[in-house]
């Protein structure tokens, strides 16, 4: 049984592209769409999510021997809620304006499917080290996905990337990209792009394999 489980390194690498939480598993879409109007807020959100994900993954891995099967989801949620409260208080104390800007989406990390999913899939079955590296990989993948969407949206909407001007001043700002419709459309097109690239790579690889 233990042999079939992926190792720590596999778990870490899996999170970045093959099982990317946003593009492949389509989990945690609510914060992904909501906070990506700017790179700065997206990165803060990714950081908070990473903190909660790593802490709760380690925690569930530590207590996995004591969990009763029918109570486990409740225990996961309470663990996550505790760490989210910590993260929320921290943001309110040290980054007040950012905390204001993120609004209800920091507490909404509690119901982010990525975290419950990782607790269920990995950390409730594997030891602490594997669980931690899995959480690290997943949060890296989540952060990269958020960064990609936020970059496209912020550059198109304001002509700036993380506050730095990158496009010429004559750029007509597409305000809609910063608004809800832009979020949905950018996300949909990027999802299509990722699918297209990976399908292409697969066909290239298989054709190279058959030529050999």
């Amino acid at each position: 049984m233990a042999k079939e489980m992926p190792t720590a390194l596999e778990r870490f690498l899996n999170g970045i592209l093959p099982e990317n939480p946003v593009y492949r598993q389509l989990l945690g879409l609510c914060p992904t769409l909501a906070v990506t109007s700017g790179v700065a807020s997206a990165m803060t959100m990714a950081g908070a999510t990473a903190f909660v994900l790593i802490c709760s993954n380690v925690m569930t891995s530590l207590i996995r021997g004591f969990l009763k099967p029918h109570l486990r989801i409740l225990i996961y949620t309470l663990t996550i809620a505790t760490f989210v409260t910590i993260a929320d208080r921290f943001l309110a104390a040290y980054m007040w304006s950012m905390s204001k800007q993120l609004g209800p989406y920091v507490p909404l990390i509690i119901v982010n499917c990525v975290i419950v999913c990782r607790c269920e899939v990995c950390s409730s079955k594997q030891p602490v080290f594997v669980a931690a590296s899995d959480a690290l990989g997943q949060s890296l993948g989540f952060g990269l996905a958020l960064l990609s969407i936020a970059s496209v949206r912020e550059v198109l909407a304001t002509g700036a990337w993380a506050g730095l001007r990158v496009l010429p001043d004559t750029w007509p700002n597409c305000g809609a990209m910063g608004l809800p419709p832009g979020a949905f459309i950018t996300m949909g097109l990027l999802l299509g792009l990722v699918n297209w690239v990976s399908a292409r790579r697969k066909t290239l690889k298989s054709s190279a394999g058959s030529a050999k």
């Binding site: 309470l78 209800p104 507490p107 909404l108 809800p180 999802l191």
Partner: protein
């Protein structure tokens, strides 16, 4: 009639203008996952609406009586324990944990009820019913209600139970509306020639974007409604019709 105006404003603005799915991006997972067939989507929307209303009522009560700074029950217990204490207790740090508990238990309640009285509906829901627990829309409704109770400085503008219930009910109806429209479009989409890499979630997100664009058209309705409701409330329907396209 001032009261009726406020209620109508809250209802219209939660259901249409600031639609939970298309404006605040909460409840996206069921919006993408369950919107394949109209009947499933409608059932899901009804379940979410019901759970949201129950959870909102419970969380309003918890917030108002226990959790907000200077809440009556907490203050009473605190003064009973150490009489003569000048300061009050603020339990608002426990908000999130309490809300999650409330939501999880409301979902359990609904699950038991549906299993007992509508076994067919229960089987068609499958795994989606317990998943309502992790539906962000419900927690979001609780958090908004919390903000309108303990976030306001003077007690004058704080929401009572009535406004919280209207907010949750119409938020749920707005969710149902969005997910049913989406399911209707996706049923037609089965006959369309969609690029392979956009199939499934990709095209759904793009359509949701266009839908959000359409819903942005409601943005001016609230100004017209407010204007129509406050001076002459008896002419409501007529004024709504006239001001549906503001600053045309």
């Amino acid at each position: 009639m001032e009261y009726l105006g406020t209620i109508v404003m809250i209802a219209v603005s939660t259901a249409l203008i600031n639609n939970f799915v298309l404006h605040y991006f909460v409840g996206i997972c069921p919006f993408i996952g369950v919107s394949r067939r109209v009947d499933m989507a409608f059932g899901m929307g009804c379940a979410v609406t019901f759970v949201m209303t129950v959870a909102a009522a419970l969380s309003w009560a918890f917030t108002f009586f226990l959790l907000q700074p200077g809440a009556p029950v907490t203050a009473w217990v605190w003064h009973a324990i150490n009489p003569g204490a000048a300061e009050t207790v603020d339990l608002s740090v426990l908000n999130y944990i309490v809300y999650i508990f409330v939501i999880a238990s409301s979902v359990q309640l609904v699950e038991m009820y549906v299993r007992k009285f509508f076994p067919k509906l229960y089987r068609s829901f499958g795994v989606f019913l317990p998943l309502i627990t992790t539906n962000c829309a419900i927690l979001f409704a609780c958090l908004e209600i919390m903000k309108h109770i303990s976030g306001v400085t003077e007690g004058v503008h704080a929401w009572g139970l009535d406004k919280a219930l209207i907010f949750a009910l119409f938020g749920g109806l707005g969710f149902t509306l969005a997910i049913v429209i989406m399911a209707g479009i996706r049923e037609e989409l089965d006959y369309c020639d969609v690029p392979v890499s956009l199939k499934g979630p990709g095209i759904t997100l793009i359509i949701a974007g266009i839908l959000a664009l359409a819903f942005m058209g409601f943005a001016g309705v609230d100004a017209g409604l407010r204007k129509g409701l406050s001076p002459k409330p008896e002419a409501v329907s007529q004024v709504v019709k006239e001001t549906a396209w503001p600053r045309g």
